[in-house]
Symmetry: C2
Subunit: 307 residues, 2 copies
């Protein structure tokens, strides 16, 4: 039995890709079960509810030597604790290659596309594996989520092609309406605690040998999030101290207007933002303009600065 | 322009996969040129001569930031010096994942099969890219070479299927006769200097944080190689000192009988061989039985021992 896992602080791609890849593996001769490494955000909850699916079980650890397949991530800091003691048999991902190493040959499939769901759809097609409507719906949802319905600069032609290919199989006639419903669900933040908002889409990266926490809130209603700035800064301060981070950033991304206003905790972060992005920072907020992709625009700029 | 490179001390798979993948990339929209990182062995020279191809140019370095695609390897110790300063855009490989990391998303395609040529053939097929007879011949040669015509335990069903698929395209009616001709060419060691024999198929690995050099001579005529034991041990001693290695091993593999007699330089190596393989070592030779695959049988046992 192979456990299939997406990254911590899961988003829609991490969850749906674990479900879909586990089904793909089981169908092609390797028994597999999907798990989640954290709580689902409102968008993902909406996607699973519409698909009539239960939430995958939460995984906290696995015995050393267990077989595991990773989707939508490959860095140990974003994965199950003790990843280095597990046997990674497969990785399907669209991120940069991090600190993963293995003792034996394995299956790796990385493509510089907008979404893991796009790569999974290609796997089904290439190997002539039948795609069920449910699976098409999950892959399509992941692509719309990761590319912000093709607004993100991470979007590629292949992502667009796969959505066009999957929509009729999924039985989704109006892709735009479905995407808007997903984004509305995501933006319904209600009384979500500030700590949860910070961690909703949050990853730790190593820059210059030091850990930085980068959170993103993608929303159609940035005013609501920015209205809770004081609470959010307090949650960032607590997280920075608790996890011994060199810096922590929270970007509030307006999905529809494609803007990024990033909360700035202290001069540690302000100095780096000024140098890495050439922006002015005054007070507790930086306008990062149209840099809405952490993967394609935020992380590379920070990496270039620290290198 | 992307430079496509196989590993140092190139074998047939490293060279032919660089040539074939460069052609694949050029045909699918990315201009690419194959290079070699060292001298060709006699088998590879035979394969290129039969194919009517020139030897790719030798590459010694590239300016920082240059685009490079790796085939048949991924570890920096086996690649171009300064790999960490280059932009790796794609890797096609069938080995374990080593120390590679990247700053940006890339194309990675690893499969636990016997040969990079097998994965390349799948790439052509999946993406409906026409395979020319020359390309089929090169991929088939690599698979026969890496799997010792299906004798190696690294062989998978996919390797066999691809040879069956490629042979008619390549116009090779008698695959067995072609494989024997390749192996005879490889075994024609003539007056090859001992240093060259040691480095013909040679890789440096990290075990327990220390570098070990592992050479293999695959031959249909082991008696000839073992008859030059004294010279070879001297070459191993010189290499160990010059490169500051913790150990150096040279396995003489009889391709037809599927046996491995490994030269033992000193008690450093003897103690490790006894513990890692449970074999007796007396004098300057160890009988490693039918362990003929460095990747599948030698390296994993050494890794398990040092871990």
């Amino acid at each position: 039995m192979t456990a299939v896992i997406g990254h911590r602080n899961p988003d829609t791609d991490a969850i749906t890709s674990a479900i879909v890849y586990a089904r793909y593996l089981s169908r092609t001769g390797r028994e597999a079960t999907p798990y989640r490494l954290g709580e689902l955000n409102f968008e993902t909850q909406y996607v699973l509810r519409e698909a009539g699916l239960e939430t995958p079980a939460l995984l906290e650890s696995l015995p050393a030597g267990s077989e595991v397949a990773l989707v939508d991530h490959n860095e140990s800091a974003q994965s199950l604790p003790g990843l280095e003691t597990l046997k990674v048999v497969a990785v399907v991902d669209h991120h940069k290659l991090g600190d993963l190493t293995t003792a034996e040959p394995l299956y790796l499939r990385f493509e510089p596309v907008g979404c893991t769901g796009t790569i999974l759809a290609r796997l089904f097609i290439e190997n002539n594996v039948h795609i069920e409507p449910l699976e098409a719906r999950l892959m399509l949802s992941a692509i719309l989520s990761d590319t912000l319905h093709f607004r993100s600069p991470t979007t590629t032609d292949v992502d667009r092609e796969m959505v066009a290919f999957l929509a009729p199989i999924a039985g989704i006639a109006d892709v735009k309406a479905y995407a808007m419903a997903m984004f509305a669900a995501k933006s319904d933040l209600g009384d979500t605690p500030a700590e949860t908002l910070l961690k909703m889409d949050y990853k730790v990266f190593e820059f210059g040998g030091q850990p930085w926490g980068l959170g993103v809130v993608e929303t159609t209603n940035p005013g609501y999030v920015l209205g809770r700035k004081a609470e959010l800064l307090e949650a960032m301060r607590a997280e920075k101290a608790a996890s011994g981070l060199a810096g922590v950033l929270l970007s509030v991304v307006d999905i529809l207007e494609e803007t990024n206003r990033t909360l700035v905790l202290s001069e540690d972060e302000a100095a780096v933002l000024r140098a890495a992005f050439g922006v002015e920072v005054s007070g507790d907020e930086a306008d990062l303009g149209s840099r809405i992709s952490r993967k394609k625009q935020i992380v590379p700029a920070l990496e270039a600065y620290f290198a």
